[in-house]
Subunit: 338 residues, 2 copies
DNA sequence: AGAGCCTTTGCATCCGTATGCAATCACGCT
DNA sequence: AGCGTGATTGCATACGGATGCAAAGGCTCT
């Protein structure tokens, strides 16, 4: 007597063979009925599909993956799920992949660590492609992965060095420039930049854009504080060290900026935006809350996700040119902090 | 000439057969070297493992899944990734599963919808088990899934009705009581409860506990507002309707409470905790931020995750009793809002 | 030395689907 | 009527590992 909750051996599933036998056709026909573009008569396909519906047959994806040597599974590697920007990305990404007939296998790596440590596992699971976000891949890792004929896309990161990796990010350079422009337009004199993880392309590019704009205007470079990572606490710390020394601060991302805002207001007793203006980057939901009203640069997440999935499909279909590094424009969202 | 970025057909992988041939043994031996507890001489195993290391052989999980009829893949179904409580759960859960040799296939469903719509997909992917969080399963769905001999665990939800589903949650009843106790101990006279999604066990149980404690003390029941869902905006709205009418508000979770705090302070111009005390539930990171300093009931996420994985492993191993509904204790975290 | 037993190994087959190739069929054309 | 052509279909096998069963080897004990 098994309780229903007990795992009672392999479940009885309807296989393609069983369905075929029942219809008096060969198993191949069942398989072809489910492969778009296969050689099969329309009536036959209809007959098979109807019977499949009735008997509850669904192709076994595992078996198909083994046979076709392609799993329809995409790995998503994430390092910073605690930064509220990424859950939103993850949600949209899995939804978009799901809509494209792909499933998402989720892997996490410690922040700052390259995604290389996941590769063996990815290989074991024969995932077709990997989307790496809030992390990167060493050149060696990339070469190894791509050399195997698999696809990889960096999301919200750009490839460091000559790795032939596709990447989708927003135009952090232009975003950095826009931040500088917005602060200068308000007559801020002493600007500052708070960097996140120093080794991330996001922080670097945003800073480069910011500095470039100041340089073009013939202004001195901004003060600079390195927060060390992308966290509320680090932003808090960074802002404390900057309090009173700057009247316009551009944080490498929103979560830093929120920490910064709290430090400026609660610890340093400054008024934002009167005493000091603050601009972030990402546009996370909390930035819009009345307690913060953070002016920020909005990343076009829906567009970025859509392009990622398109790119992935192109690569998986074999139709794709050389690796691209796409940059979608960020949009300045003016709220109360600047 | 293929560019390295082009998907160039099936990658060349080392198979168990190839490795076996190279060692002059049978493929079975390679297989057994990788299955703990298999009948194989220790030296043979060592030899195989060393050779595997050298040649970069890793068992093909897809093939193993097909053969063993068990995939080592656990589906995680989530509905509310935008509530910051869940990303943290997701991160810990995937990490814990990964450590247990299981992978996480992520599915999302619209909030409020039962997870049933994922079942066909889960079945297709032959996942061994499913962890459902911030969503539930209809009795029919549960019966179907469990009847197939698969495992399911509700996380942070309890089963509605007589479904034989395992569930791991925190003790929401006791948490609700503790919230009431804390507010009463401060001399608050007019208490209120802000419900989230009315059909969730979390909101219901927290409310029941809250009311029970008031009843025990011989006090009238609290005011009650139904926010409708678990979101910042709903909390904001709910609190506005409560402003001035209550001096102690218990929100069904933190994200509601944060919205509520902002409404009370910025819209209603009230002082927290002087004019009105606020207590939340979950302990999300933002609650600790200086802008909020939210007093709340902390869910023991690490323990809940650990128990979930243990339970899953027991079920998958076939050693497990009847379905359990475990309740881990919540801890009151006193901060500035109450 | 022979019998009995346990351990280790190989053999063969199965998991469920995809697909190249050959066979079949219908149809149109000369 | 005979043949060519294209569309369908079935057959057989591959994908990479897991595993029941029997064979082989080593050991102890009588």
């Amino acid at each position: 007597m098994d309780t229903p909750s007990r795992l009672a051996g392999p479940p009885a599933v309807v296989t393609a063979r069983a369905l075929a036998r029942r219809l008096g056709v060969s198993q191949s026909m069942v398989s072809r009925a489910f492969s778009p573009g296969a050689s099969i008569a329309p009536e036959m396909r209809a007959r098979v599909l109807r019977a499949a519906e009735e008997l509850g047959y669904r192709p076994n994806v595992i078996a198909a993956a083994l046979s076709r040597r392609r799993s329809s599974i995409v790995a998503i590697v994430m390092a910073e799920l605690t930064n509220p920007f990424y859950p939103a990305v993850l949600e949209r990404l899995t939804a978009a992949l799901q809509a494209a007939g792909l499933q998402s296998l989720l892997f996490t790596v410690p922040p700052g660590q390259p995604a290389d440590s996941c590769l063996p596992l990815l290989r074991q699971y024969h995932v077709d492609a990997v989307v790496i976000t809030s992390a990167s891949l060493t050149s060696a890792g990339a070469a190894e992965w791509l050399g195997d004929g698999r696809a990889a896309v960096l999301f919200n990161r750009t490839a460091a060095g000559p790795t032939p990796l596709d990447s989708i990010a927003c135009d952090n350079l232009a975003g950095g420039r826009a931040a500088a422009e917005a602060l200068l337009a308000q007559g801020r004199k002493q600007l500052a930049f708070v960097a996140g993880r120093a080794d991330t392309s996001t922080s670097q590019d945003r800073e480069r854009g910011f500095r470039a704009m100041l340089a073009e205007r013939g202004l001195p470079p901004p003060l600079r504080v390195e927060a060390g990572d992308f966290s509320y606490e680090s932003g808090h710390r960074a802002a404390r060290s900057l309090a009173g020394r700057a009247d316009g601060i551009f944080f490498a991302n929103d979560i830093l900026a929120l920490g910064g805002l709290d430090a400026l207001r609660h610890d340093a007793g400054l008024r934002v935006p009167e005493d000091v203006a603050v601009i972030g980057f990402d546009d996370i939901p909390m930035g819009a809350w009345p307690a913060y009203r953070l002016t920020t640069l909005r990343q076009p997440v829906p567009a970025m996700v859509a392009r990622t999935v398109e790119l992935l499909q192109a690569r998986l279909g074999g139709t794709a040119g050389p690796p691209t590094g796409e940059r979608l424009p960020a949009e300045l969202v003016r709220r109360g902090s600047a």
